[in-house]
Subunit: 619 residues, 2 copies
């Protein structure tokens, strides 16, 4: 008892405006992006600002031949993956193959100027392409109205870009955090199932005609190893080369046997030349505007989720930083520009970024190299793709999406958190049986509901003393913890607000009644101590809980003490406590140990105080 | 250092099913309603069950003449208030006056059998009547389609009852908690403004013709004191008697001057007799079914909010208990039965309950007495109401709703919590400028958004040692707290989940970087301690935060220690931690004091460990 505890006091005063500023900063600028500008001369500030907006200005001045050697190898490597994937994903998006190549030309150039990741490989991705088609076909058919469908694809890409850039500018990037790992695992697996079933249909149809060639079997076995080998850097050349090799081989075979197997559909003649402008194709008429906006938002969110996650993963490996909000602006502008140059929604693809990284990419220059390779294809190599069979594109698609089914991740989620597993299943079945957007919305809704339920039904835990220490911990967690006679020590483990005061009051009173019932041997139960360290926040309703609890306890001649209320909580209690009834020194303690010590000594020093007395002297 | 701390271990094992059961019980049965049945013989259980369903069986067998004397006085008192208010609120609901009396006859009888409050006075209330009309008039006009409007009023009342009973049976009563005090203050004030403006129009119109009588002035001054006097029990007879007195006086005057002032609208002839059945009037056709359901739900929630709050307030004063979920079933059934006997939505009215309590009501018998008084009115006194002027009903309505404007409560909310004040204003302006349901929805949405924002941006606080103790508290709250060189001690004050891991990671790394920057004098910064007492929960994403933080810190040769992770958190970390990398004794501590003590002694005992070393021996 020789320890001197300071009194529990309200924190130093701050005005509401000051507090609002701090909160706003923590909400929107938790990374404090302006920190680097502080105390710099004006000239430096200009340079830093330019570098902030255009990260290419950071690395290009120091760019060396050695870096370029690495970037050219990785750039050509991802180009060899981007070209077959580009035309495959265009097919997945319901668009002609050339638009996949257009989308692999302009967006990587824009990203190279604006983006801050050194590893991200830009272009169309399976997930966004599929979602784009599956949502747009709710309003327009890709096959019977191809022109309108194309227009809506560009318009959705524009809205996706605007939405992405807006999230970044308004610093609302945390919205993508609501697509949790569990949701993504379920959602991606659901998408994989849908896409595979779609493609399988055409693959099986073809197989019937190509038994002798067994091209599908070969391709499947080649591709099935891609995602394995991505994790083993030395085999990554196999993954990187396989799609191009398959396209070349199959195209060569089809060219050789041309005309003999009319059932094998080939791509056909493709237009040569770079991206045609598409500003005039943007479609803003009311009939489909809502659909385009909705599709843009969903595609935009998914594309950000993939880009940001991939960018952060590789930044962490190579120990540099990507600023989420800045990346959102870069990707958003990239899609806005893309939508005016015949590109559909592009993003940082996971598989190609992994290849890019493993092939030794050093800067965003590898995206420029890839762009140039795609440009060469667009200008000179388009006739070569004439005989590329659709079946090989289907195989590329299926291979890409099969990697989306992440059984180990699903098992891990099951093991750690059953509710997350349910969220995952909701996303999975929602996507398969309802639709992409409702599947996602249901899963996000369920995740939010869980948070609300946790708030509505916060845990209250009974604490006991850990022998030999002054610590008090959960009795159900630490078996050695023992109760202190005469005290009921409860820990409230959530913010106290309108959503849970009724529950907390009922639950606390039940603790107290059970305590009274168990005390029939006339031993004295005199103190309820609420440990408030975990009550991070309180609102006006929360304040009333203490007033009501206190008056309920007073009639039972039980004293209520609060332990370690945090700064904000104590401040609000002080403001609400006009009659000065519980913000008093004999009411507030800094630790449970202190509270038990001081209250016990009061009990010992006033032997005349019994439960029969109307008003104990220390109340 | 002589204190022996036990190791931090996972809590005793429980299966997922056991945990699910506990959670389900805490979520749906926090009050443990079955407690009283435990260990009772079968016969007693039957009696207890019957009393549980029909609380009248609890008090009627012990009912005495003495109690009846009190109840008859209070019953007649509230009848004298119910009759004028009933016809006024029927007007407010857009219904003929007699339905206000019907609704003051059947529902109180039903409640007397099923309800557990001893004070609640049942009948139509201003707020539900207004909401009923304002929502139904979105689809049907009360004046040009009175019959359909009446049908929809009964149908909405049925749905309100079904919804209320369902909430009670499914034990989802906590849903009404989402209408926080702040929302209700704003909402009620908004409703008061709307109603007053509506009534003022007719009041002013009338005033023009009644200058000589100044009846309005008289009434207004009488009524304006009602809500004041409700809080002073000895004047409550004034409040209780004023409406009836006004009705009698004005009716008598109008009767005397009948025909001479045709501009003064009177109620006119009313049908005599008890409630006609209305089962056949229930309207289930698709045209307006959605509106009826929506209106039923909103009216049902508002009626529960008023009833439960009023019931709990007076139960607390008289120290008995009302079970929220059981009350919801009682009120729900009351409205279901009401909808088949020509009653519109009824509830426990605040003003009449206060009068009932002050007049000395002892049991729900006072509701039965009131019913009988209303019955007598219905059977014999209807002709007397012929000449009651509408203006007096308008005055009664305005008086009732003026009490809804609670300026002191609004000021209190402003003082304690600015955000709650914004929520209040949202409800207020939403109701006035948009609509009842959107005003409520906006305000509830804003409250939920705030909770989500608190989760998305949890506070992280830097702790320091309180000199002379082993306690560590917020440096910004306790000025005397001092930092320990070499340690960065952070407290995370929220559950860790998908919505905040990105933020927490960024924010923690920023703390660390700022710490490194401030350490340019080559002093050693070696330990980050995370105090986890306030982390009440964690999900699969949350687990990954620790893995990522740990690997980020390892490259900086900083050790990460966790203090007092709670049972559920430690359990999930253990499950996720396959490589046994952070659920290790040298990583986990029971208190910050212990962590600092043990880690400091490690630092002293291994002087060779410097920041340049690749892998410190204790990692």
């Amino acid at each position: 008892m020789d320890v001197q505890y300071p009194p529990v006091v309200a924190p130093p005063h701050k005005s509401s405006l000051q507090k609002f500023k701090v909160k706003l900063k923590e909400t929107l600028f938790p990374d404090d992006p302006m920190r680097q500008f502080k105390g710099q001369p004006f000239g430096t500030k200009i340079v830093l600002a330019a570098q902030y907006v255009f990260p290419i200005l950071q690395w290009l001045p120091q760019y060396s031949l050695k870096l370029f050697k690495s970037d050219i190898i990785s750039g050509i490597t991802i180009a060899s993956l981007s070209i077959p994937q580009g035309i495959s994903y265009a097919k997945l998006a319901g668009l002609p193959p050339s638009f996949g190549l257009y989308s692999s030309f302009v967006p990587p150039l824009v990203y190279a100027v604006l983006g801050s990741s050194k590893d991200l490989a830009i272009g169309p991705a399976a997930i966004t392409s599929l979602v784009l088609r599956s949502m747009l076909t709710q309003g327009v058919s890709a096959t019977s109205q191809p022109q309108l469908f194309l227009q809506l694809a560009f318009t959705s890409t524009l809205f996706a870009g605007v939405f992405q850039a807006a999230l970044g500018i308004l610093r609302l990037g945390f919205i993508i955090d609501f697509l949790s790992k569990a949701i993504l695992v379920g959602f991606m697996a659901g998408v994989a199932v849908i896409v595979s079933l779609q493609q399988l249909k055409s693959l099986l149809g073809i197989t019937h005609f190509t038994k002798k060639m067994t091209i599908v079997d070969v391709l499947s076995s080649v591709f099935s190893n891609i995602h394995e080998s991505l994790k083993k850097p030395k085999y990554f050349w196999v993954s990187a080369g396989a799609p191009l090799l398959s396209v070349i081989t199959s195209t060569a075979i089809l060219f050789a046997i041309r005309g003999k197997h009319p059932a094998i559909l080939v791509i056909g003649k493709l237009p040569e030349g770079v991206n045609p402008p598409s500003v005039k194709m943007l479609y803003f008429e009311a009939t489909h505007l809502g659909l385009a906006i909705k599709t843009g938002i969903i595609v935009g969110i998914l594309s950000l989720t993939e880009s940001i996650a991939v960018g952060r993963t590789f930044a962490a490996i190579r120990k540099y930083k990507v600023d989420g909000n800045k990346e959102m602006i870069a990707i958003g502008l990239m899609n806005v520009i893309g939508s005016t140059t015949s590109c559909f929604a592009s993003t940082g693809s996971f598989s190609r970024t992994a290849v890019n990284h493993n092939a030794g990419a050093k800067t965003a220059m590898s995206n420029i190299v890839m762009s140039v390779a795609v440009l060469v294809t667009l200008l000179f190599l388009m006739p070569l793709l004439h005989y590329t069979p659709h079946v090989v594109l289907g195989a590329i698609i299926v291979t890409a999406v099969i990697g989306f089914v992440d059984i180990p991740a699903a098992y891990r989620i099951w093991k750690i958190d059953k509710f997350d597993f349910v969220v995952m299943l909701t996303a999975f079945f929602g996507v398969i049986f309802i639709s992409v957007e409702y599947g996602l919305a249901l899963a996000v809704g369920l995740s939010i509901l869980r948070i609300l339920l946790q708030i509505t039904r916060p845990k209250t835990v009974m604490l006991g003393n850990i022998p030999g220490t002054r610590l008090y911990r959960d009795l159900h967690h630490y078996n050695q913890a023992t109760r202190i006679p005469g005290f009921l020590i409860l820990s409230i483990e959530a913010p106290i607000n309108f959503a849970n005061i009724t529950y907390l009051q009922q639950r606390t009173l039940r603790w107290i009644e059970e305590e009274e019932e168990s005390m029939k041997d006339n031993s004295v139960f005199r103190f309820v101590i609420l440990e408030m360290s975990a009550v991070s926040n309180i609102d006006t309703s929360g304040v009333s809980l203490f007033q009501e609890l206190k008056s309920a306890l007073e009639t039972k001649h039980i004293k209520l003490a609060l332990v370690n209320p945090l700064a904000e909580v104590i401040e609000k209690l002080t403001k609400a406590d006009e009659s000065d009834s519980f913000i008093r020194e004999d009411y507030l303690f800094l630790s449970v140990g202190e509270a038990v010590g001081k209250l016990s000594s009061i009990m010992e020093n006033s032997p005349s105080v019994t439960m029969q007395q109307e008003q104990p002297p220390y109340m």
